[in-house]
Symmetry: C2
Subunit: 325 residues, 2 copies
């Protein structure tokens, strides 16, 4: 039986940022205790509305996040922000971004910001991000914003776990639209065209519209709009906010919010099981076995598929109930 | 016992493109037969030298691949190309690229080209690509080139499985360098600065040099160079070729080629086992169980971690040797 500090969980609320922060750190450690914490807080989650904001580097996602946060704060709502940055090990990108952000909204008592670096942890990042959102949800934050740079599938996967996902583009995003087209189509509940006073704004708008026009829809499906804004000058942010609210109402009226959350939980549960199996199979014993046998594969004595089967049988024997040690 | 068409495998060689193509299609199907084929051809693999070419969209990877291919052909070597494209469902990007390519080198008897779309299959793409490379290797192609758009982790993973990996950038790649910095550092055996006659070439060169300067190295480590070229005008391609050969010699002289291949096989074997377990666990029975129980998670009755544990126990019971049906 894993002991969890009950007092810690009782004090977990938006008025106690130090405890929120400490709980997230515990959860990130991925220990037995972290799973116990996540199990215990689950009944307190589900009240926060989760917003995913993604897009290419330089699209102005942080600025938009900050402006949106100010609107929610004016409405008396608390906001938790999870910023996923493709940190460079040299410039410390995430830290720098945080400092700018702290001046704007970070001193606000009702705002909690957590940065996560993608470096070297892409596989586990999605898990870490969603676990952190659960802590913020259980602490009582009304709104949770995932801000991710959508350069890869993993970042898109994170943005997708939100209740409403917006994709931020700028007039210059031509290449990104091209590269991410299929992925973007799939995840965007709506598009935000930021810096819409720049040249090329109209043609970017048309390009997105064309993509959207190809999406199949019927009367039960959500028609993803395109919202223009200039986040830096605080123009059009109310429109973005209204569209989030519209999408939320749509999901609730069609009873789709729980369905969407169920789909996300399914992906999450499969991920949890996948990681657990991975840890169980790649214990020291089997890593050693792999390290020994892999040179037989390099030397062409056995095929990688044959070695995989051998290791898998070995694992199955180990987990057989007759064989517990 | 799975029957494999032995005749097919006997005819698998560079003089019989139809058989090469058919074998790849069989392997891609991911059937029991495909695994049997991959097991049987393994002893014939290991002779091809594998080159990974990656970089952001528009960097000129296809043009560079074509020019490099011409050099290898002049030296009498056969070349297999696996092009991984982030296909758009609308423009059919991969097909279009192929048509241009076909005019240049596709009619050459000693060149085999296979395109793979990333759309909707990112998870399995790496497996498919490497399996295809094995078929080309067993067929006797001397050189195998993986050409991938390095927008995401999966594409970088594919490029990484090569013996030598080059990252192609252009003077305009500033944003991409920023976004992919950590990933690029890890995988690039050398950088190619294409379109190096364009403005900004010198500062891009310096930016890459700065990144490289920060990489730790000793006398046993490879110093990754930066090669300028203009692939469209066939300028600097010999330099690229020479650097591939230098890297190959380095790997061979330090006995690192087999080590590198062993590392790649380890990743591959873990992937094979992971997919096999995924298929076994997510059979219809357990998918149904998940579909039923997930709404208890949405309703906060049980946590996703608890449900994951239940499903995992269920799986372990099923695979126990006493419980085979």
């Amino acid at each position: 039986m894993i002991m969890v500090n009950i007092e810690l969980l009782e004090k977990l609320n938006t008025n106690n940022k130090r405890i929120v922060s400490r709980t997230i750190s515990k959860v990130e450690n991925n220990s037995e205790e972290s799973i116990e914490i996540l199990k215990q807080i689950h009944s307190k989650t589900g009240n926060a509305y989760r917003i995913g904001i993604t897009g290419p580097p330089g699209a102005g996602k942080s600025t938009l996040t900050n402006q949106l946060t100010k609107i929610y704060r004016k409405l008396g709502k608390t906001v938790g922000i999870i910023a996923v940055d493709p940190t460079s090990p040299f410039t410390g990108g995430a830290l720098l971004g945080d400092r700018v952000r702290m001046n704007e909204i970070g001193m606000d008592e009702g705002v909690f910001i957590r940065s996560m670096a993608t470096r070297g942890s892409l596989g586990g990042l999605s898990k870490k991000t969603i676990d952190t959102a659960d802590v913020l949800d259980a602490a009582g934050y009304d709104i949770i914003i995932f801000e991710t740079v959508g350069v890869g599938q993993s970042e898109l996967d994170i943005a997708k776990t939100a209740d409403t996902t917006l994709v931020v583009l700028v007039p210059e995003s031509g290449d990104s639209i091209q590269a991410m087209k299929a992925g973007l189509m799939e995840i965007a509940d709506f598009f935000v065209l930021n810096k819409s006073d720049r040249p090329g704004s109209d043609s970017a708008f048309q390009a997105i519209k064309t993509i959207l026009g190809l999406r199949a829809h019927d009367e039960n499906s959500w028609l993803s709009p395109i919202v223009k804004c200039i986040a830096q000058e605080n123009k059009g942010i109310e429109d973005v906010y209204n569209n989030i609210e519209n999408h939320k109402s749509f999901l609730e009226s069609k009873n789709k919010l729980n369905e969407r959350r169920a789909e996300n939980y399914k992906i999450r549960i499969k991920g949890i099981i996948g990681s657990k199996l991975h840890v169980e199979i790649w214990n020291t014993k089997r890593e050693n076995l792999l390290n020994q046998k892999v040179f037989d594969v390099v030397e062409r004595d056995i095929s990688p598929y044959t070695l995989a089967e051998t290791l898998l049988s070995n694992f199955k024997n180990d987990i057989s109930p007759n064989n517990q040690d």
